[in-house]
């Protein structure tokens, strides 16, 4: 493990972190060793976000650093073992709503927390959620929506999942600008989350880990 790399990442020193990875790749450090350091750093970043030390600038920069490092180590990664995940989460912004910032943060936090996340994007119709539950087989489904119109669409999506006979296969969480307990009850979802950490806690509570 390179403590220097972990520190550079966790302290948001982007240039230093990328230079270190460049050197490590050059000197033949195995990609999985580098990625394990990245994972260690991302855990620290996630914890600091949870503790209210880090906010969006840090999460966004962490995501950028992670993507750049993935590109750098990718050539050496072919055939390497895929890492184990805690569980699967399917997520998307419901039909009629094209807001993605909140959802993207939730996706990022779930991924750095060890979940395999399938992100359907924005303006996702109920049928698409249903089809993806069949194919991807997640334990948790996250419905995102920023507008008041999302209340009805979330309810319709939960109903469509039930109608397809899949309601008891998944736990459903909702989140977004105006979502609260009253909306959760209205939509028939299992829980709502106020922020990305709440989503991670819910997923961990349901799946374990």
């Amino acid at each position: 493990m390179s403590q220097q790399l972990v520190d550079a990442l966790a302290e948001m020193r982007e240039n230093e972190a990328l230079a270190l990875v460049g050197e490590m790749v050059k000197s033949g450090t195995p990609p999985l060793t580098i990625l394990s350091d990245v994972r260690t750093a991302m855990d620290i970043i996630g914890r600091r976000y949870e503790e209210g030390v880090y906010f969006l600038p840090e999460l966004m920069l962490a995501g950028e650093m992670m993507n750049q490092i993935m590109e750098m180590v990718k050539p050496g990664l072919a055939g390497a073992a895929v890492e184990e995940h805690l569980g699967k989460v399917l997520i998307g912004t419901v039909k009629g709503d094209i807001h993605d910032i909140g959802k993207d943060i939730v996706v990022f936090m779930l991924r750095v927390s060890g979940f395999e996340v399938f992100d359907l994007g924005v303006d996702v119709p109920a049928e698409k959620f249903v089809a993806a539950i069949r194919d991807f087989q997640p334990q948790v489904v996250g419905l995102s929506g920023f507008l008041t119109l999302a209340f009805d669409e979330m309810k319709a999506t939960v109903e469509a999942i039930a109608k397809a006979g899949l309601r008891d296969k998944v736990r459903i969480m909702i989140g977004g600008g105006q979502i609260d307990e009253a909306v959760r009850e209205f939509t028939g979802a299992d829980a709502y989350g106020k922020d990305a950490m709440a989503a991670v806690k819910l997923a961990k509570g349901w799946i374990g880990g």
Binding site: P57, L147, D180
Partner: protein, 434 residues
């Protein structure tokens, strides 16, 4: 008499576009109008009004509630204003914000507006328009922007967000037009077909914008004669949101905090007088002092308190002080949760600002910001949509108890809403009156 006092005096004796006194439809309408203005003025200036004033600040609700789609409200200006009038007559609030929220659909179409998707253009007829976030200004364009923001907007930003304004990218900077020698070269682009095509579209779009603005003006004027005032003069934005919402985008600006903090700070400084000017000139044109400032990326969870103090607040405060100096009333909306910022933002001149509160705890707001500023809010959207009239009444009663002491409260909804139960909205207004 200071500028704001003069603005209120003008509002109390409104004049029509012809310069003559507005003819109210009845003596009662005139009395109601003046009582509402006085009530709002007292609330803003932190004096106890005769009763707590109430407002309704909807997004698409008046139009959906009238049984039309958002698309219809955006394309049929008469239907739009008729629905809004009906809405105001039914609720009778002390203050409204006009029927301009849907905007002119045809105008956006003529200019091929790409920054938003709207009904028939990317969203369903019954849904509200939504912003397409992207990096419309790239990270390496800060210097270009700061050198001449208007040139940057015309030649780079506008062609990216309006498909029909591509011709702008070929124009020379106006600041090159200096003296006889060489002056004609600057005008050569106007001979080029893409530039001429852009100007043709602009004439068409201008005509449509005028048609819509006339409908909105007539609507406000009619509501005035019926006794229902609006004091909303226009809007401006916090410099951080100017860059973060539609130029650099959320991700762009968050990364800039780490990658190019000095450029970001300098660009925001450059925007301060521009954003003051935007609000002041709108207030002058409309004769109304309230300047709306929707606040987005300073909410809890976006930035740390340190980042907020360094990047978000200083230039926003400067914009507000500039507005106040020019007789305007800054009207920032704290969208989402802002608990962690209250102690920072309470540092504003007393009795000069109005804040729309969304989900921040009103008791906390009253103890901090509310000591210096009037608050509007904060009946939740979810309650208006899913609650019962009884719940709304109880909420408003509690609200007045917690935040109404000594003036400084205007009862209203916390966030602009599209969908609700009319009986709940009505309960909100009635409860405030009781």
């Amino acid at each position: 008499m200071d500028k704001l006092e003069a603005a209120f005096q003008r509002l109390l004796s409104p004049k029509g576009p012809d310069g003559n006194d507005v003819q109210f439809q009845s003596a009662e309408a005139k009395a109601n109008y003046q009582a509402s203005i006085t009530r709002i003025k007292d609330a803003i200036q932190l004096r106890e009004p005769d009763r707590v004033p109430v407002t309704v600040l909807p997004s698409m609700f008046p139009y959906l509630n009238a049984g039309m789609t958002v698309e219809e409200a955006m394309y049929d200006y008469d239907k739009c204003t008729a629905a809004f009038k009906q809405f105001i007559l039914e609720l009778q609030p002390d203050m409204h914000i006009g029927a301009s929220a849907p905007g002119p659909g045809k105008f956006y179409e003529i200019l091929d507006y790409k920054l938003y998707s709207w009904p028939g253009h990317g969203v369903a007829p019954e849904h509200c328009y939504q912003c397409n976030e992207a990096e419309y200004m790239t990270a390496d364009e800060y210097d270009l922007f700061m050198t001449d923001p208007s040139f940057y907007f015309r030649n780079f930003y506008l062609p990216r967000v309006f498909g029909a304004l591509g011709g702008f990218s070929m124009l020379a900077p106006y600041t090159s037009i200096l003296e006889m020698y060489g002056v004609a070269f600057n005008f050569v682009p106007f001979a080029l077909p893409p530039v001429q095509a852009t100007f043709q579209k602009l004439f068409e779009a201008g005509a449509e914008a005028l048609k819509w603005a006339m409908a909105m003006g007539a609507s406000d004027a009619e509501l005035t004669t019926l006794g229902f005032p609006t004091i909303l003069g226009g809007f401006t934005k916090a410099p951080f949101d100017v860059l973060g919402d539609t130029l650099r985008g959320t991700k762009g600006i968050m990364l800039d905090i780490y990658r190019r903090p000095d450029k970001l700070l300098a660009a925001m400084d450059r925007l301060v007088p521009i954003m003051i000017g935007m609000g002041v000139s709108a207030a002058q044109q409309t004769g109304k002092p309230l300047i709306f400032i929707p606040l987005h990326k300073g909410a809890d969870g976006f930035l740390s308190d340190e980042q907020f103090k360094k990047f978000y607040w200083p230039t926003l405060k400067q914009v507000m002080l500039g507005l106040i100096e020019n007789g305007c009333i800054p009207f920032p909306a704290l969208e989402g949760h802002w608990s962690s910022r209250l102690e920072i933002i309470q540092d504003v001149p007393r009795g000069k600002t109005v804040w729309m509160i969304d989900q921040t705890d009103m008791a906390k707001v009253k103890q901090t910001l509310g000591q210096n500023a009037c608050l509007i809010g904060n009946v939740p959207s979810s309650m208006l949509r899913l609650g019962t009239p009884q719940e709304v009444r109880e909420y408003v009663k509690r609200l007045i108890e917690t935040a109404g002491q000594g003036g400084g409260l205007i009862v209203g909804n916390g966030a602009f809403f599209d969908e609700a139960r009319m009986e709940n909205v009505k309960a909100m207004v009635e409860a405030a009156r009781e």
